[in-house]
C-alpha cells in the first residue's frame, strides 16, 4: 500500500518505521531536514521536504496514487488542511491527528466535511486506556477484541494457587472458561501447550470474555477490591477526558494541578470533580491529600521524570494501582524494574491505533484483520480475523489442524457468544477468530496453518 505520512515527529517516525516493515511504500513529508535525515538513514522510506498543506509538495509525493494519507504534525489545523488537500487531490483515505477538545466536540461534522476516514486524539485514546486499566485493577494490561467481547489480560502469577500447575489441569481447580494464550518468563515468551507448568514470576496473558476473565482473577485472588478513589496529578487534556470516562463508572477523581488558571478552567469544565491547586511532586501535599487512602494514583504532568518519581513515591506509599504517563520510549526496560503498574504513552497508543487501522484497510478484501495488538513489547501479536469463504479450514475440528509454530487460536466469537476453543470446536463462516502468534506479519487466517496442516 502506498502511504504518505505528513509530519516526521515521534508519531510520524514510529508509524513510518512500523508500516515500512510491513511492506508498504512510505513517503514522509516534513519541513525539517534534520528530522527527514533520521528517517531516510534508518528506514526504507522516501522523504520529501516541504509543507504537507502545499498541493505542489503533495503532488510531488504522489498523492494521486496514494492509498492513505496520515497527517500527524503537531498542529490540528495543519492536519485538517493536509487531509482536505489530499482528499481533493485524489488520496484514497485520510487519517488526521486532532487533539484539541474544542474540535473533538464537533468531530462528526469535521469528519464529514473534510472527508476524514479516521480521527485520532492521542489524549483521548490515552484516557480510554487508563480508564480500562482502572476498571480492571489487577491486570497489568488489557486488550479488547470483537468489540469488547473478548479481552486479553496480563496477570502476574505470583503467590496464586495456580503456580506449579500444568495448564491442562487448571480447569479442575478453577471453574472459569479462559485460556492462557501466552506466558512471559523472564525475557522469553512462550505460547504454551497443555503440559506447560506455571512458575512463580510468570506473566500470564489470559484470554476470555470479560466476565470469565474477571471470574478467573477473582478465584486466583487477584481481584479483591474495586477502585473507587483516584488521584490524578496534572490537569491536562488526558485528565479531562479521563474524568469524563470515569464519571460513568462511579469512581471519584481528585485532580492536582499547579497552575491556578488551569484549575479554575477545570472547575468549570468538570463541575463535580475536586480540583486541588498545588505542586503534585511535593510529597507533603500528596500526604495531606491522603494519597495513602487512594485506590489509584495517576501522574499525567508534562514531565516524564516528574511523573515517574511521583508514581514511584505513590508506590512506596502503598497505593494499589499506579499509572504514569511517559512520553519518551527510550527506556522501557529500566522503567519496568521500578515497580510502577502501568506506563501510558499517548504517542505509542496513537501509533498503535493508526497501525491497526492501516492493517484493517489493507486487508479489506478476503480474510480481513479486524484488529491487531502488539503485546508484550511487540514480541507477540494478537490478531482478530473474520473467517471468510476463502478460509480453507472452515468446520474442521481444531484438533485436526496443525498450526505453524508459536501460534494459538485463542478465542472464537460467534453471534455474540464467546467460545474458548477446545479440540472439538471448529471455525465457522463469519466467526471472529482471535489468534495469538509470535510470527509477525500474519495477514491472512490461512497463514496460521502449517504446511500440510489439515490432518485426516
Amino acid at each position: 500500500m502506498k502511504i504518505i505520512i505528513v509530519g516526521d515527529g515521534k508519531v510520524g517516525y514510529s508509524l513510518a518505521e512500523t508500516l515500512s516493515q510491513e511492506d508498504n511504500d512510505i513517503i514522509v513529508i516534513d519541513k525539517s531536514d534534520e528530522a527527514l535525515r533520521k528517517a531516510s538513514e534508518n528506514l526504507d522510506v522516501m522523504c520529501v521536504r516541504g509543507s504537507g498543506v502545499s498541493a505542489r509538495v503533495m503532488i510531488e509525493a504522489g498523492v494521486r496514487q496514494a492509498d492513505l494519507v496520515i497527517a500527524a504534525t503537531s498542529r490540528d489545523e495543519l492536519n485538517m488542511v493536509c487531509c482536505l488537500t489530499a482528499k481533493r487531490l485524489g488520496a484514497g483515505h485520510t487519517v488526521a491527528r486532532i487533539r484539541d477538545p474544542e474540535y473533538t466536540d464537533e468531530l462528526s461534522i469535521l469528519k464529514h466535511e473534510l472527508g476524514l476516514d479516521l480521527v485520532i486524539n492521542p489524549e483521548q485514546a490515552a484516557a480510554g486506556e487508563i480508564a480500562q486499566l482502572l476498571r480492571f485493577p489487577s491486570a497489568v494490561n488489557i486488550e479488547v477484541f470483537a468489540r469488547g467481547r473478548v479481552e486479553i489480560v496480563e496477570i502476574l502469577a505470583d503467590d496464586t494457587p495456580i503456580v506449579g500447575m500444568q495448564l491442562k489441569n487448571i480447569h479442575r481447580a478453577i471453574s472459569s472458561d479462559i485460556l492462557i494464550g501466552a506466558v512471559l518468563r523472564g525475557e522469553d515468551l512462550v505460547i504454551p501447550n497443555g503440559d506447560f507448568e506455571i512458575q512463580k514470576g510468570d506473566i500470564l496473558y489470559v484470554v476470555g470474555s470479560p466476565s470469565s476473565v474477571y471470574n478467573f482473577c477473582r478465584q486466583i485472588g487477584k481481584c479483591t477490591q474495586k477502585i473507587r478513589n483516584i488521584m490524578v496529578v496534572g490537569g491536562g487534556r488526558i485528565a479531562y477526558y479521563l474524568v469524563q470516562l470515569l464519571r460513568k463508572n462511579d469512581m471519584k477523581v481528585k485532580i492536582v494541578d499547579n497552575n491556578r488558571e488551569r484549575c479554575l478552567e477545570l472547575t468549570e469544565l468538570l463541575p463535580d470533580t475536586l480540583i486541588i491547586h498545588g505542586d503534585g511532586s511535593d510529597e507533603s501535599l500528596l500526604l495531606s491529600e491522603n494519597v495513602r487512602d487512594m485506590d489509584a494514583f495517576i501522574s499525567l504532568t508534562g514531565n516524564d521524570e516528574v511523573n515517574l518519581m511521583m508514581a514511584f513515591t505513590a508506590k512506596q506509599l502503598n497505593v494499589g494501582k499506579v499509572v504514569a504517563k511517559v512520553t519518551r520510549t527510550d527506556y522501557p526496560h529500566v522503567i519496568k524494574t521500578m515497580g510502577i503498574d502501568n506506563i501510558i504513552n499517548p504517542k505509542l497508543i496513537t501509533t498503535n491505533h493508526i497501525v491497526r487501522y492501516v492493517r484493517g484497510l489493507k486487508n479489506a478484501i478476503g480474510n480481513p484483520i479486524e484488529t491487531l495488538y502488539r503485546i508484550i513489547n511487540g514480541k507477540a501479536e494478537a490478531i482478530e480475523f473474520i473467517a471468510g469463504t476463502s478460509t480453507r479450514f472452515l468446520n474442521v475440528p481444531l484438533k485436526k489442524l496443525r498450526l505453524v509454530e508459536n501460534t494459538l487460536v485463542a478465542a472464537i466469537a460467534r453471534k455474540g457468544k464467546i467460545i474458548i476453543p477446545h479440540g472439538n470446536d471448529s471455525i465457522r463462516l463469519g466467526d471472529s477468530v482471535i489468534v495469538v502468534t509470535m510470527n509477525s506479519g500474519l495477514t491472512d487466517l490461512n497463514e496460521i496453518l502449517a504446511p500440510g496442516g489439515i490432518l485426516e
Binding site: 512510505i26 538513514e41 526504507d44 522510506v45 522516501m46
Partner: protein
C-alpha cells in the same frame, strides 16, 4: 565497522559476478575458443569463494554509511581482481597488472586498454570486457540490491556510495524497488540500441558489444579502430544518440515513463548538459571546417560523435582526434573534466556539480557588491543546503588533488606532458582515450607498471566518486571503536 556483514555482502557480490560471466562462457563454448576453461575456472572460483564467505554468521545487521562505503569500495576491488582472472588464465594478457588494468577499465566504464591487437583476442573475452562495462555502468551493488530480496533500510547507503552524483535519491520509497526500476530502464534502452544497430547492418555479436559499451558509457570495442572501423553513418548516428541518452539522469526517464515529459526541460542539469554538447559541437565544427575536413557534413558527423562520446565519458572514436587543431582538442579535454549528468552511467565531475560551482561562485561576487545580502543557491527552485554545497566544493578539490598527484607520479616515466596529463584526466573521468600516446589509436600498454597501478586506482576513484576509496584507506574507519 560491521566487518562480518561487509564480508557477507561481498560474498553475494562475487556470486552475482559469477552469474554475469555465464554469457561469456557460453559464447566461448559456441566459438570453441581456448578461453572456455579460463571462464570455467574463474566461475567455479567465484562461486566457491562467494558461497563460503556469504555463509558467515552476522551478529547484528545494522548497516551504517561507513559500512555501505566499505562494501562498495571493497566490492569493486574484488570484482576487478576476479574479473581480471579470465584474461590471465587464458593467456590473452600474460601479466596480472595488465589484466587488472583491463578489468578495472571495464568495470569502471573507462574503456582504456592495454591491448595492442584487440581483434586477435578470443570472442568470449571480448564479450566479458564489454559486459563489465554494462554491469559497471549501473553498478554491481545496485544489481545486487535489485536481485536480492533482503534490501533493507541500510541498503540505501550502499546505493548512495555506488551511484554517481552529489545526492543520489530513490525513485520510489523502497531501495530494492528503485534498483529494479533503474535496471529495467537500463535493460530496455540497451535492447532497443542492439536492435537498431542490427538493423543498421552490424553483426549481432558486434551490436551487443557496442550496445554494452554505449549503455555503460564504457567504450570498449571489438575493433582496433573502434567504431571508425565500420565507416557506417547509420551506426555512428545511433551510437551518438544513445551515448547522449545514457548520459542523462535516469530519474528523468522514470519521470518520462510516468508521463511527465516537462521534467526534462525543467531539469537545470539536463539543460546545461544539452547546451554544452551543442556549443562544443558548434565550436569544433567551426574549428575543423576547412582545416581538417572540407565538407560541413563530414565535420558535423565526426564532431558530434566525438563530443557525445567524450562528454558522456564513453570514449568511442571514429577518427583520430589527435590530428585535430589544438583548440578542438582543448574543448575535448574540458569535456573530459565536465562529464555527464548525475544519476547516469557516465563519469567525471558531472554537470550538476559544475552548475552548482558556477552558482556558488556567482554568489561570492554578489556578496562583494552587496556585503549584507542573503543569497541561497537554488537548483530547480529548491534551495541547496550549505552542507551539500560544501560537499560539492570539497569534491571538486579532491578531484583536482587526485588528478595533480597522479599526474606527478605518471610523469615520472618521462612521457610528454600532454600524454601524462590527459592519461590521468581520462582515467579518473572514466573516459578512455586521452591525447598523445594514450590517444584514440594508441593504448596504455607502453606505460610502466607503477603508472598502470596509479591509473587503475584513479579509475576506481573516479567511478566511485573518491570518498568510498578514501574511506577504505582511512585507518580510523576500520577500528572496532572509532572515536
Amino acid at each position: 565497522m560491521n566487518i562480518r556483514l561487509i564480508v557477507k555482502n561481498l560474498g553475494y557480490v562475487l556470486v552475482i559476478e559469477a552469474a554475469c560471466m555465464l554469457p561469456s562462457l557460453l559464447v566461448s563454448l559456441a566459438c570453441g575458443q581456448p578461453d572456455f576453461t579460463a571462464f570455467l575456472i574463474t566461475i567455479l572460483l567465484l562461486i566457491a569463494t562467494g558461497m563460503a564467505i556469504s555463509r558467515i554468521r552476522v551478529e547484528h545487521d545494522d548497516l551504517y554509511t561507513r559500512d555501505g562505503f566499505a562494501i562498495v569500495a571493497l566490492g569493486w576491488l574484488l570484482i576487478s581482481v576476479f574479473g581480471a582472472l579470465p584474461f590471465l588464465f587464458s593467456g590473452a594478457i600474460p601479466r596480472f597488472i595488465d589484466a587488472f588494468f583491463e578489468s578495472v577499465s571495464g568495470f569502471t566504464t573507462t574503456g582504456s586498454t592495454i591491448l595492442t591487437d584487440i581483434e586477435s583476442v578470443p570472442k568470449g573475452l571480448l564479450l566479458w570486457r564489454s559486459f563489465t562495462h554494462w554491469i559497471g555502468g549501473m553498478g554491481v551493488l545496485v544489481l545486487t540490491l535489485a536481485i536480492l530480496p533482503s534490501a533493507k533500510a541500510g541498503s540505501l547507503h550502499i546505493m548512495q556510495a555506488e551511484s554517481p552524483g552529489p545526492a543520489p535519491g530513490k525513485l520510489v520509497p523502497k531501495v530494492g524497488q528503485t534498483a529494479k526500476i533503474l535496471y529495467a530502464i537500463y535493460i530496455a534502452m540497451t535492447l532497443v540500441q542492439v536492435i537498431l544497430l542490427i538493423i543498421a547492418g552490424l553483426p549481432v555479436y558486434d551490436a551487443f558489444i557496442h550496445a554494452f559499451g554505449t549503455a555503460g558509457t564504457g567504450g570498449f570495442s571489438n575493433m582496433n579502430r573502434s567504431v571508425g572501423e565500420y565507416n557506417n553513418v547509420a551506426v555512428e548516428i545511433i551510437i551518438t544518440v544513445f551515448m547522449f541518452i545514457f548520459g542523462v539522469n535516469f530519474s528523468l526517464y522514470y519521470q518520462g515513463l510516468k508521463g511527465n515529459f516537462k521534467a526534462f526541460w525543467r531539469d537545470e542539469e539536463f539543460r546545461f548538459y544539452t547546451g554544452t554538447v551543442v556549443i562544443a559541437i558548434a565550436l569544433i565544427v567551426i574549428n575543423t571546417l576547412g582545416t581538417v575536413y572540407q565538407g560541413f557534413w563530414d565535420s558535423l558527423r565526426y564532431a558530434s560523435f566525438q563530443v557525445s562520446s567524450i562528454i558522456t565519458t564513453t570514449g568511442y572514436s571514429t577518427v583520430d582526434f589527435n590530428l585535430w587543431p589544438v583548440f578542438s582538442k582543448a574543448i575535448l579535454v574540458v569535456l573530459m573534466l565536465v562529464g555527464a549528468c548525475a544519476g547516469s552511467t557516465g563519469g567525471a565531475l558531472k554537470c550538476i556539480r559544475i552548475v552548482l560551482l558556477f552558482k556558488a561562485a556567482r554568489r561570492e561576487i554578489v556578496k562583494i557588491i552587496h556585503p549584507r545580502s542573503v543569497h541561497t543557491v537554488k537548483i530547480g527552485g529548491k534551495v541547496v543546503s550549505e552542507e551539500a554545497l560544501g560537499a560539492v566544493m570539497s569534491y571538486f578539490f579532491l578531484y583536482m588533488a587526485v588528478l595533480v598527484v597522479s599526474t606527478l607520479i605518471v610523469a615520472l616515466e618521462g612521457k610528454d606532458p600532454v600524454t601524462s596529463v590527459t592519461a590521468v584526466i581520462c582515467t579518473i573521468g572514466n573516459v578512455g582515450p586521452g591525447l598523445g600516446v594514450a590517444g584514440p589509436v594508441g593504448n596504455f600498454s607502453s606505460f610502466s607498471l607503477l603508472s598502470k597501478i596509479v591509473l587503475s586506482v584513479d579509475m576506481l576513484i573516479g567511478r566511485l566518486e573518491i570518498l568510498p576509496v578514501l574511506v577504505m584507506f582511512s585507518p580510523s574507519s576500520w577500528k572496532r571503536v572509532n572515536i
